[in-house]
Structures are given as structure tokens and as C-alpha cells.
Symmetry: C2
Subunit: 120 residues, 2 copies
């Protein structure tokens, strides 16, 4: 890993029994919303990420509690991130938190908080 590698991480809940399409859509929401946060926060980093191939990694957690703790931790660290709340029109109750997008941001700073999470 390059010292200044930039990546986006998407963390998705696997305890909701979402179908594959639903899950992929939630990850896409998280990616786009978090991208906008990152662009507002550091336009140069967002652009560098786009120009370098948009590295994305998808990780999993198995509870809403775990997702919310991570969200709070990234907010505390002032790392741009976005929590996806499902509108509840199809598979899930309205307001269900499904996924968390983080960055694009410095990989080494993200990794400090996600290192123990498994890949989806």
C-alpha cells in the first residue's frame, strides 16, 4: 500500500437478509453520498481518488449497533462519511440503517477503524 493511498470503504449490514440487488443498491447509495461528503471536505483528495481508479472496498458488519458505532467513530475523526437510511419502500422497515460509506480518504486513516472487519 502506498503511504498516501486513497480509497473508499463501504460497510454493509449482513443481518438484514437483503437480496443481492438491494444490497448492491445500498452500497451504491453509500458510495455516492460519501463521495459528496468527501468532495465538500477535501476536493483535491476526491479528485485524486477519481483520477487514480476509484479504489473501493466493501466490508461487512452484522448489526445496526456495529454500523452506528463506526459511523460515530468516523464522524469523531472528522473523516467524511455517510450513513444510508432505507426509505423502506420494498424489503425493509422505513428508517433502517443499511450501510455506511467512508471517504474517499487516506487509506491508513480509514484502516485504523476498520482493520478488524471482514470483506463482504
Amino acid at each position: 500500500m502506498a503511504v498516501d493511498e486513497i480509497k473508499q470503504v463501504i460497510i454493509v449490514r449482513t443481518d438484514l437478509d437483503m437480496g443481492k440487488g438491494k444490497l448492491a443498491a445500498q452500497c451504491a447509495h453509500a458510495s455516492l453520498m460519501s463521495y459528496f461528503e468527501a468532495e465538500r471536505s477535501d476536493k483535491g483528495m476526491a479528485k485524486a481518488w477519481l483520477d487514480s481508479g476509484e479504489k473501493k472496498i466493501v466490508l461487512k458488519v452484522s448489526s445496526e449497533e456495529a454500523l452506528l458505532k463506526l459511523f460515530a467513530a468516523f464522524q469523531f475523526k472528522k473523516i467524511p462519511c455517510a450513513l444510508v437510511t432505507d426509505a423502506g419502500l420494498t424489503e425493509l422497515p422505513p428508517g433502517t440503517k443499511t450501510a455506511l460509506g467512508i471517504g474517499p480518504w487516506l487509506a491508513k486513516e480509514i484502516d485504523l477503524l476498520t482493520i478488524s472487519l471482514p470483506l463482504l
Copy 2:
């Protein structure tokens, strides 16, 4: 469906045996790249979509040929779209076309070309 409903459609190949995380990341790529195309093409429509909850649907095809035909058809119709080419660093050979993002754009115009495709 409202007459002027706006949505984004993501079409992903299921013949590549991608893991769930890989598949979700490809869909996120498609979503973000296609969003940028849509923003360049019609900023008002892109904004209306963000403001209305970012409806996203994920559909599937089972071959590269099917994906490329759809890409050509959406380009011919001048509907903003983006084809995802995998860098080939992990599961796939470099250059593999994995997914297609379409819009956000008018749902009724997208549906004309995707109506026969199954949900992922």
C-alpha cells in the same frame, strides 16, 4: 410510477462469478460514474434525483455481449451512462467489463430498453 419519475439503473454481469463484495463495488463504480455523466448532461435532472431519494434499481445480464449491446443502445439514445471496466487487480482479468450505470434519467426512457431484464 409518476410520469416524470427519475431513477438510476445499474446493470451487472452475473456470469463472472464475482463475490458479493466485488459485485457491490462494481455497482458502486457504475453508480458514481454514471451520476457524473448525468450531471454533465442535465444538471437539473441529476439534482432532482438527489433531492427525491436517489432511486436505484439493480438488474442483471448474463454476458458481456448483452452488457455491450445495452451500452451502445443507451449511447445511441443519448441517455447518460457509464460502462465499468475492471482494473483486474483481484478476481478478474484486466479490462473485463463488469457493469453499466444508466442515469439518473427519466424512468420511462430507461425502461424502454431494460424492461425485459430481471432484477439482480
